[in-house]
């Protein structure tokens, strides 16, 4: 398998074939919590991509240069990664506030939420322990591959929450059976969207 093609497969696999929200159920809280307006979902998607990329880079370096050489990765990776993510989010919040106030206003409110967004921890874990992943291109990710994977996941996440927000904006004015109003109809919508994404299964042999 040639190198660029491998990157392409990782990207497509992460974005649509194993879509993080609809196929793997990671990061459902923002899907049902945040996405009732298109604009806020775009903000959320951008900040998630930002944090995810940073978090994966740092966790990958920590795993390959600190945890693995010391043989402590197996039982320390959970606390270490979550600490990295929490610190990073806090750090980003301070930097953004100082360096770019408009960006801070756009992303600021989402940043604390992202610490407990399972997608960030999941991606950081999978980038270093690809055993969790059933993408059959994954054995062991190099740093560029881990980054391509992360960006793919983040784009997949953004795609779904923006589409979902559009649908929910329409749902507000539609006649929904009484018992289904609010959350249940959102789950039904998600079921149909997930069904649509299942159409990508086996795309390019992934």
């Amino acid at each position: 398998m040639s190198e660029p093609y491998r990157y392409f497969l990782i990207f497509i696999g992460a974005t649509v074939v194993y879509n993080i929200v609809l196929i793997r159920f990671i990061a459902l809280c923002p899907l049902f919590g945040v996405s009732s307006q298109v604009e806020t979902s775009i903000g959320m998607a951008m900040s998630v991509m930002f944090v995810m990329t940073m978090a994966t880079t740092v966790s990958w370096l920590a795993w390959n240069y600190v945890l693995e050489p010391l043989h402590v990765g197996e039982f320390l990776y959970i606390p270490v990664f979550i600490l990295i993510i929490a610190t990073l989010v806090q750090f980003l919040e301070m930097v953004l506030k100082k360096v770019s106030p408009p960006l801070y206003r756009a992303m600021g409110i989402f940043l604390p939420l992202i610490t407990t967004n399972c997608a960030v921890l999941a991606v950081a874990t999978e980038a270093v322990k690809p055993g969790f992943l059933n993408l059959n291109v994954a054995y062991h990710f190099s740093l560029p591959e881990a980054l391509v994977y992360t960006i793919g996941v983040a784009i997949g996440f953004g795609l779904v929450i923006v589409v979902f927000a559009c649908i929910r904006e329409r749902l507000e004015t539609s006649p929904v059976p009484h018992a289904f109003r609010g959350a249940p109809i959102a789950f039904m919508t998600a079921a149909l969207l997930s069904l649509a994404f299942m159409g990508f299964t086996n795309l390019l042999g992934l």
């Binding site: 990671i26 809280c29 990776y77 979550i82 929490a86 610490t115 009484h178 018992a179 249940p184 959102a186």
Partner: protein, 199 residues
């Protein structure tokens, strides 16, 4: 005490009422067996972290309480992670990334922040147990419905305990959309039951 327990199971059910901790519940509930193990794991972490946080709650500086809670939770999750890997490797393989993800399950952090850091040890333990049992019950119901409809039978510890006989099962229930579908219908039924009771 009993009221605290009942509150976690019914009126403040984490999944159906507060809608926290959804990700893991939807992802692992395709088999009854997964539901049992995931429920036990989450309940263990909930009870232990609640007890520990309630014990040291007066010594935790307010400004850095969230990192401290997360570290406490992460330590207990590591315990679960290693124990399950050693004793039930098959289930561990199937649950995969969901075991480490218990750390960021908002249900657990929400209980630590909202309850354990304000109440005495005994109450915090009972609260953790109640929420954990409520979570497990929903997982069991979903696992039962999805496995039965999706595969036509229920396999528990390598034994078939219920079988619907020979028919062509709608596979969709064990697959991804089935989780949303089952959960949405459960919520709708609950809504309907509650609005009936009010009238």
């Amino acid at each position: 005490m009993w009221d605290e327990f009942k509150k976690g199971v019914i009126t403040e059910n984490a999944l159906l009422k507060l809608m926290v901790g959804l990700c893991s519940a939807l992802a692992v509930s395709n088999r009854l067996e997964n539901g049992i193990f995931m429920g036990i794991a989450a309940t263990f972490v909930l009870v232990c972290s609640n007890i520990l946080i309630a014990l040291i709650r007066e010594r935790i500086p307010y400004q850095i309480r969230i990192p401290i809670f997360i570290i406490i939770i992460a330590s207990f999750v590591t315990v679960v992670d290693l124990v399950m890997k050693a004793y039930v490797p098959v289930v561990y393989e199937r649950l995969g990334v969901w075991i480490p993800l218990i750390v960021v399950n908002c249900m657990i952090l929400a209980r630590a922040e909202g309850y354990a850091s304000k109440n005495s040890v005994a109450y915090a333990a009972v609260d953790g147990l109640g929420i954990g049992v409520g979570y497990t019950l929903v997982l069991l119901v979903m696992g039962f419905v999805r496995e039965l409809l999706g595969t036509g039978k229920i396999i528990l510890f390598e034994k078939t305990i219920v079988s619907l006989g020979p028919f062509n099962p709608p596979l969709i229930f064990v697959m991804f959309p089935g989780a949303f579908l089952t959960f949405g219908i459960m919520m709708a039924l609950l809504n309907r039951y509650e609005s009936r009771k009010k009238q």
